[in-house]
Point group: C2
Chain length 194, copies 2
């Protein structure tokens, strides 16, 4: 079974080392990890070679996702209170295909708390008890790990969201939550197959 | 034809007024806007009434998207350099269904520039000429409007991304870019139908 490894991990200084580390954890559970930077299993359409890099990468990742049985997303907050935008896009993409989506994060604080921290003194409680930002826009307050579309998709697809805190220096290197997520995914797939 | 109106507009102080404004612009082009807070066109499954609000909202929005012919996303940067996470999820969801996705934004600066501004003095150019953050993670530098999965999906689906600058006070009220996006979408749908 193939697992698409969504995440901002592609932006790490050594993305190929990260790819190998993630794949080794998948392999230990009998799963084949597919990293966004992998070549496609089949030859790319010839027409793609004329496209600019961003279009080719986008089409390749979409093809990767379609070729996988489930998706595991690194939802560690990325340059703001939410997960990386590309990762969230891919999670929504796989959810629409009706396959299980899982998430992991190296930050345990829930979404509302992270957003309040991000906004600092620009966040305020209105008379209705709801937190707002300086533009008067409400903060989601459902106790979710990120925007409710993300938590909702993970839950409804039978996936899991594994979030825990790690030392700040290990924010982008600690793979314990990922490993736990892979275990859950392997169990989920074996239950579906049974 | 039905258009799903994705965006952080649901967080505005008066989301129903916004819903009406967006729908009026759609109606002027012969399109029916569907706002995330709308009730479903069909009765919700009885089992949903027992679910917590975040699950019910998530399932309802997924059903709304499945019921629409295309999606127009408010991609104005939201609490960070990227668009709202729920919006990006929904754009990925609709893209996987193979239907056109459009985006609009009230900020013209491209993604790389916004990310550099967001990171401030934590962004630096490495010897390879690529911008990195303090964790050594690269900044996307493809000249895109947001993460390349978003731009790639819009482009590949035949959609359009309309971005322009507005006065700061009108960041969440100016609908000129939206109106232009709706015009493009109406033209796209009439071409497909022809």
């Amino acid at each position: 079974m193939k697992v698409y490894l969504a995440g901002p991990d592609v932006f790490l200084p050594d993305p190929l080392a990260r790819s190998q580390a993630l794949k080794a954890i998948c392999a230990a559970q009998g799963l084949e990890g597919v990293f966004p930077l992998d070549p496609l299993a089949v030859a790319e359409p010839a027409a793609w070679s004329a496209l600019p890099a961003w279009q080719r990468i986008s089409l390749r990742n979409e093809a990767h996702i379609r070729g996988c049985d489930l998706l595991i997303a690194n939802l560690t907050p990325f340059r703001g209170p939410s997960a990386d935008a590309g990762t969230v896009f891919e999670l929504g993409f796989m959810r629409a295909l009706g396959r299980p989506v899982f998430g992991w994060s190296n930050v345990a604080a829930p979404f509302t708390e992270r957003t309040r921290r991000f906004l600092g003194d620009k966040a305020a409680v209105a008379t209705d008890g709801v937190w707002h930002d300086a533009a008067g826009m409400a903060l989601e307050s459902f106790g979710c790990g990120d925007n409710l579309m993300i938590d909702g998709a993970i839950h409804a697809s039978g996936g899991d969201l594994v979030a825990h805190d790690v030392a700040a220096a290990r924010l982008w290197s600690d793979l314990a939550a990922f490993a736990q997520c892979v275990e859950h995914a392997a169990r989920r797939l074996s239950e579906t197959a049974a």
